[in-house]
């Protein structure tokens, strides 16, 4: 055996040892929450992704066994603590005349909200996220002078509650009609390289999902599990805050939370998950 092939043999052995010590995600597992809510964690990609991606996967698929298990039981899912707070807020009087969300809405009427937002709002001629809809209710229906901030704790709690009652619903955001122009903008942003690292969303989440970027196991960047409880900061994280984190990591100046660009990107990324199920609040690392 010459020296070159000896080195090659050692390298292969080391490679095998290293890969067996890494805790790999179970990419074939299925998610059933509380033994009753059956989630779609992998399915055929929506038609508009033809040529780009054939199967779409929930971010849950890429997480470690332990993290996957946390989301399968509400008692183990720390995000459910915030859902409880959100449910209290839903029933809390906050309007100028003492209205609560529950004054107008039965929570059972809101089960399809998370699955269909962002969506076109004809009255305001804009695409609205759930957060924007909550703020509209607060200022226009409830007479609040200061609606909640889009990334505030209260907003995350109530959007987690709204997501939780829609868990298991199939994500189905509309991308045709008046929303199409916004969707096109989001699509353009998705494929645009940002920052000093010159990375687009697609570079990681379309071309390299399933691979590792240093220690991280790249997902498809699906947002069906938002708001997400992240183990790294032990709290709920909104989707646009996550966008901001991603863009920041490309070493770019980011768009703001609630900006037109991020609303468009949220619509586009949500549409890439049409066919998955609402999981919020999901558990991620």
């Amino acid at each position: 055996m010459n020296t070159k092939s000896k080195i090659a043999t050692i390298a292969v052995a080391l490679g095998m040892a290293a890969s067996s010590s890494i805790s790999h995600a179970d990419e074939d597992a299925d998610l059933v929450v509380n033994g009753e809510i059956e989630m779609v964690v992998r399915t055929a990609a929506p038609a508009h992704l033809e040529g780009a991606v054939s199967t779409i996967y929930s971010g849950w698929v890429f997480r470690s066994d332990e993290t996957q298990a946390m989301q399968a039981d509400d008692f183990d899912n720390p995000g459910m603590l915030f859902v409880e707070k959100g449910e209290q807020l839903f029933n809390t009087a906050m309007g100028a005349d003492g209205q609560s969300c529950a004054s107008c809405h039965q929570s059972s009427d809101l089960t399809n909200v998370r699955a269909t937002y962002p969506q076109w709002d004809a009255e305001h001629s804009e695409v609205q996220t759930v957060e924007m809809q909550v703020r509209e209710c607060q200022t226009e229906q409830m007479g609040m002078e200061e609606p909640w901030g889009i990334n505030s704790g209260d907003m995350l709690d109530i959007t987690a509650f709204i997501a939780s009652i829609g868990r298991g619903q199939i994500v189905d955001v509309a991308i045709d009609g008046p929303a199409h122009e916004t969707w096109e903008l989001g699509r353009e942003i998705y494929y645009t390289r940002f920052g000093q690292l010159e990375l687009s969303c697609a570079n990681c989440h379309e071309e390299n999902y399933g691979n590792r970027i240093r220690a991280d196991h790249l997902s498809q960047g699906q947002i069906n599990g938002f708001p997400t409880y992240r183990l790294k900061n032990a709290r709920l994280n909104g989707v646009q805050n996550r966008f901001r984190g991603c863009v920041r990591d490309t070493r770019a100046e980011t768009y703001g939370i609630g900006s037109d660009e991020f609303v468009a990107l949220e619509l586009y990324v949500a549409s890439r998950g049409n066919g998955l199920t609402v999981e919020g609040p999901s558990v991620r690392n």
Binding site: F75, D76, P78, L81, E84, K85, A234
Partner: protein, 109 residues
């Protein structure tokens, strides 16, 4: 003073005699370590759950000392061998002197 502290327990309602059952508890609590500083550079006072006790029919199952490095919303899971029907009592002790209690009945056949 910790606010919005809620204790939760998940323990089986039924078991057979001699069975080892799994008990899970969760309490929402900030578990402020006392090591952090706020924006003005002042130390944020320590505020943690410092002790947790579970008894079954007044017999101690676990008696745990919790330290400042334990994460927010402490989740504790442990096992208990049950020989007769009775009641689990759970007690959390807060730094501020508050005591939070929960209980759960179990019937053993």
């Amino acid at each position: 003073m910790a606010e919005n502290v809620t204790a939760r327990v998940r323990a089986p309602r039924e078991a057979s005699a001699g069975e080892v059952v799994s008990v899970r508890t969760l309490i929402s609590h900030p578990m402020e370590s006392g090591m952090r500083r706020n924006g003005d550079g002042e130390v944020i006072p320590r505020s943690i759950i410092n002790r947790f006790v579970c008894t079954l029919n007044d017999e101690v199952v676990v008696d745990i000392t919790l330290e400042p490095s334990i994460s927010t919303n402490p989740y504790l899971q442990f096992e208990a061998k049950v020989t007769e029907s009775g009641t689990f009592n759970f007690t959390w002790y807060d730094d501020d002197g508050s005591v939070y209690e929960e209980s759960s009945d179990i019937s053993v056949s």
